[in-house]
Symmetry: C2
Subunit: 329 residues, 2 copies
DNA sequence: ATTAAAATTGTAATCGATTTCATGATTTTT
DNA sequence: AAAAATCATGAAATCGATTACAATTTTAAT
């Protein structure tokens, strides 16, 4: 309630001195400091960030753009972002865009409007032109998704290699008919994973058949259920499925369970992301693990350095294939 | 980049007029309006929220406190909060406290510091004294959790009744030995659910045995796994389990599957919350559904009205018992 | 054509902090 | 004891908007 002027008046000093006590900038005599601190205490004064931010023209707020909170994949990344940010006196603002361009614009404008200092985008459906324009004068880092031919720095894994390894694992188990359930091929990560899938099949001279390339409408459990349902209706069923995300793979597992199909004997399944659930399914799900926490942590680090003025370089992190019951013979 | 003064200069008017065009407050002649809009366009001007907020002493930002993002229960509530907030020109800032009092204080201070206009707390472990103090002069709404004897308005369901119905359902199926896996009895919702559990047992003259009241260290899957493991070691095993959350119930299901125990024939399970994953488990999980989206929507509505100055009254919303395979004989 | 009323626009104060520059008070040096 | 250097503090400008009030212009009324 009280402002800096009232504190100054009560302490019998000027507001400049109060500010100095507040920020430990210039030396203030012990006696004055004591008076000021007493006044602050008595008035229960809390500095207004609005005044401070206006003057300093910074908000110490970071925006994190996500498509949806309901995908648990993001929560670990966010933990990493938060930990680094808080430790460096930044707070984060989580923004769910729902793939709605209007919402996206609101959030991007918050940076232009000085309400936030920078953006970590994990939002695959972002309006690329707007993002590029913003990137001219502001700090942006992409995390887990990215654009190959745009100069926005990113943190990601080698999606092509990870997918290649996952599919090769299925091949080594003796599978020759391997389906791929993908979501949106426009996303770099999705395209890369498809390329890895194709490379593995090509390397072993296995057919890439159109009806084994399934496209879903989203990344929800239900999308996996439906994709699997379609695959099961095919004349020639695959014996293994590689899904672009765990959520989809879990939906696929569910459908297989419902139909009484044995996993992995009849159909083996590999997912991607290693979300918490993937260890709770029946059978447990083989998947590709990304260092989610570290990716978030690093992204926040890159963003804050970039805000301070240094140029950030993209980073590729390690991944790991985790073999569980859904591919254990 | 450009500020309102530069726009004014370029348009040949005063900054006051630019502001009027920006906010549609007082009438501005068509000609002037055109000139100003042209200047805004040419300079790619975007108003600084910092200046605006300082002057208006509002941030149009709402804080949403959650313990952790990794519990999918919250994501639907957040969707409701977001939809209402965005529709009313507020943005929300999601704050994960991790039960860390220091983080909590940071977030509560954001309201004192005028960086945010109000709080929706879904944070069971919040420092109650601090929250009460803040509630004196600021707007706070509790959502899904609440404090009975504190004057902070809340949105919740009748937890006692819901638990009573869930346990009665288990009794009707013929179960007489019913265990309860709970987390933290200090939370109002947890206490209420325990009371409902006890009321149902008492009504049917069934024993409430201490070893069937399990306490976990958290709400993660793994906590459910461990609780179930303990219950299975008992000399006299329960034939049914009521869990305080779906995450715990899902962990319990997992452990039962691992041990080869038939659900629901040997042990029936009921959860609480109806998270998306509860329909993907094997068997699917019976649970209590809360109108999560609506609760969030209503909480945001109450908060914004409260910020505008009207007094909010607590709201109890409907719930529903959803019967799935884990209790289907 | 003159005057009153209405519409438009500008001036300047304001929100709450930080910071440069100037000044006065102390301390140190000679 | 006088001069120089250091330290502590205050006055006032500033960040970028909004708005009460005043001034000016336009329109309407006589």
């Amino acid at each position: 309630m009280a402002n800096i002027q009232e504190v100054a008046r009560r302490a019998g000093v000027s507001s400049a001195t109060v500010s100095r006590v507040l920020n430990n900038t210039t030396a203030v005599s012990a006696k004055t400091k004591f008076k000021v601190e007493k006044a602050i205490e008595e008035l229960e004064y809390e500095p207004s960030m609005l005044g401070r931010n206006l003057r300093n023209s910074e908000s110490r707020l970071l925006l994190v753009l996500i498509h949806t909170f309901s995908n648990p994949y993001y929560s670990e990344i966010i933990n990493g972002i938060e930990d680094y940010s808080i430790a460096n006196d930044y707070n984060i603002l989580l923004c769910e865009t729902d793939s709605n361009p209007q919402r996206e614009i609101i959030f991007l404008n918050m940076v232009k409007n000085k309400l936030a200092d920078g953006i970590i985008s994990m939002n695959p459906t972002v309006d690329l032109e707007k993002l590029k324009a913003l990137n001219e004068n502001h700090s942006i880092i992409m995390c887990s998704d990215y654009y190959e031919d745009v100069s926005i720095p990113y943190v990601a894994i080698d999606n092509e290699l990870a997918a290649y390894k996952a599919v090769k694992h299925l091949i080594k188990l003796g599978n020759e008919k391997i389906a791929f359930i993908n979501f949106d091929d426009n996303m770099a990560y999705a395209r890369k994973r498809r390329e890895g899938y194709e490379r593995a099949l090509n390397e072993f001279n296995l057919p890439i058949r159109d009806e084994w390339m399934c496209k879903t409408d989203g990344l929800d459990f239900q999308d996996g259920v439906q994709a699997m349902r379609k695959l099961l209706q095919l004349e020639e069923r695959p014996t293994a499925v590689f899904a672009v995300s765990d959520t989809i793979a879990i939906g696929a597992l569910k459908e297989l369970n419902v139909k009484g199909i044995k996993i992995p004997e009849e159909i083996a399944v590999v997912g991607f992301d290693n979300i918490g659930f993937s260890n709770m399914t029946n059978p447990t799900l083989s998947t590709v693990s990304q260092p989610k926490y570290e990716m978030g942590y690093k992204a926040a680090n890159m963003l804050i350095e970039s805000i301070k003025g240094s140029k950030a370089d993209s980073v590729i992190m390690d991944h790991e294939l985790i073999i569980r019951e859904s591919t254990l013979k």
